[in-house]
């Protein structure tokens, strides 16, 4: 999973630091401070998950609830 931080409005570093510490988040975090990449994808809210297949195709967008995300990931891994 790649996390992409958007819409902080200020320097994202202290905010992301605090957020990761609070929720114990590890792994890759990328910064999209002006949300231009999110905009290119038509992202209108957070959190939003985008599932990508190995050929680079987007297979799902949204998927906030754990149960729906798990189902979608299982489907993706089985393909």
């Amino acid at each position: 999973m790649i996390l992409v931080d958007i819409w902080e409005g200020t320097d994202p570093h202290p905010e992301v630091e605090r957020f990761c510490e609070m929720w114990g988040i590890e792994g890759t975090i990328l910064l999209d401070p002006d949300a231009s990449y999110a905009q290119a994808l038509g992202i209108r809210g957070v959190p939003t998950n985008v599932l990508v297949d190995s050929d680079g195709t987007i297979v799902d967008v949204g998927l906030v609830r754990i149960d729906e995300l798990e189902r979608a990931v299982s489907r993706l891994l089985q393909e």
Partner: protein, 365 residues
């Protein structure tokens, strides 16, 4: 971004059969959350939590008249016409700021519990309730004297609050505990609790039906809870990551802001059906309705704006709202080159080529 330019006083004519029309989307400041309307002055007050101020919006010109500095991270906000005061719950200051709406000056600061994040005024009973998330309590403050009347035990993540004067009840929802606490306003003692969905963060009541609606942001649901026996009657469908809620003045519908979807759901009180998802700004949160004209005000944390909508739905639509398929499904993911938060190096989508993965867009607020 929205499908129309963000700016002062922009008006967009909706299609004739559109369920809503957006009258304006007004830039207000960083991470706007709580919002209230002052009908007499034709103003809206918006708590901009990352900017530590209240934006005062002139609803005649749709521009920000003033920015009033309050305590750190004002999340929720209420306006009391009788005292002509604006109140904010300042999460990082453990206080409630009190602002004179005439002079637009901070006039008092009331200490409350840790990390206050919800604020609701009962104008008739002359009280204001504050949910203290990390204190796991609810403060009850006299609206006139600003004295703290009681501090009531709730549960961890205590935040949004609603009251039912006919039952002498206050409902405090607890985000982290995923529950709601019911408090007797005669004794200030908890009289019941209920487990709801995870991330419970907004509440509204319809006393004549005995209903309490609770938004569960992480579960992605809306719980209808009985005000009589404190049980969940049903779970209702809304949009992705719902975080805000208000009951329409006619009590026929509730509005739920969906932070994940960037929309506002309209849910019927009687039928529990998801009537529509209305477009608003990005990352919407706080929502209120001006009882004098029915207009809906939504604070959009993503765009830093205040949306003003006219709900055109006369009643339940012929077909219920359906989540539209995202237009990029089936398309190739656009390439990216973004800075890694930990290393400061640029990383591109080429690194993840031939892998299956998830891109999770998030914000820290």
């Amino acid at each position: 971004m929205s499908e129309f330019p963000v700016g002062a006083a922009c008006r967009v004519d909706a299609a004739v059969d559109a369920p809503s029309v957006t009258l304006a989307e007004i830039p207000v400041g960083l991470d706007p959350e709580g919002v209230a309307v002052d009908p007499r002055r034709r103003r809206a007050y918006v708590a901009c939590s990352r900017a530590d101020y209240v934006a005062v919006v002139d609803l005649e010109t749709n521009t920000v008249l003033a920015q009033i500095t309050v305590g750190g991270e004002p999340i929720d906000l209420a306006y009391d016409a009788a005292t002509d005061r604006i109140f904010t719950a300042d999460a990082h200051a453990d206080s409630v700021s009190v602002v004179d709406a005439e002079t637009l000056e901070l006039v008092a600061t009331v200490p409350v519990g840790m990390y206050p994040s919800g604020l609701t005024a009962d104008h008739e009973s002359r009280r204001i309730y504050c949910g203290n998330s990390l204190g796991s309590t609810m403060s009850v403050i006299d609206l006139d004297t600003l004295e703290t009347i009681a501090t009531v035990e709730a549960e961890v993540g205590a935040g949004a609050i609603a009251f039912d004067r006919t039952r002498d009840l206050v409902v405090c929802v607890n985000f982290i505990a995923a529950s709601a606490t019911f408090v007797d306003t005669k004794t200030w003692q908890p009289v019941g609790r209920v487990d709801v969905g995870s991330g419970a963060c907004a509440v509204g009541v319809v006393p004549e039906r005995g209903d309490c609606f609770i938004v569960n942001s992480l579960a992605g649901t809306l719980s209808r809870v009985s005000l009589d026996d404190f049980t969940v009657r049903e779970e209702l469908t809304v949009g992705r990551a719902p975080v805000g809620l208000t009951v329409a003045p006619a009590h026929d519908r509730v509005y739920v802001s969906n932070r994940g979807a960037g929309t506002l759901s309209v849910v019927g009180v009687a039928d529990g059906a998801h009537w529509a998802q209305l477009p608003v700004g990005e990352g919407p949160g706080g929502v209120v309705v001006d009882a004098t004209d029915g207009r809906v005000y939504v604070a959009n944390a993503g765009t830093g704006t205040l949306s003003i909508l006219e709900d055109r739905l006369a009643g339940p639509p012929a077909t219920a709202a359906v989540e539209e398929r995202h237009p990029l499904i089936g398309q190739r993911l656009p390439e990216f080159s973004l800075v890694d938060f930990r290393t400061g190096e640029r990383r591109s989508s080429a690194e993840w080529a031939e892998r299956k993965y998830i891109v999770n867009f998030f914000a820290s607020w």
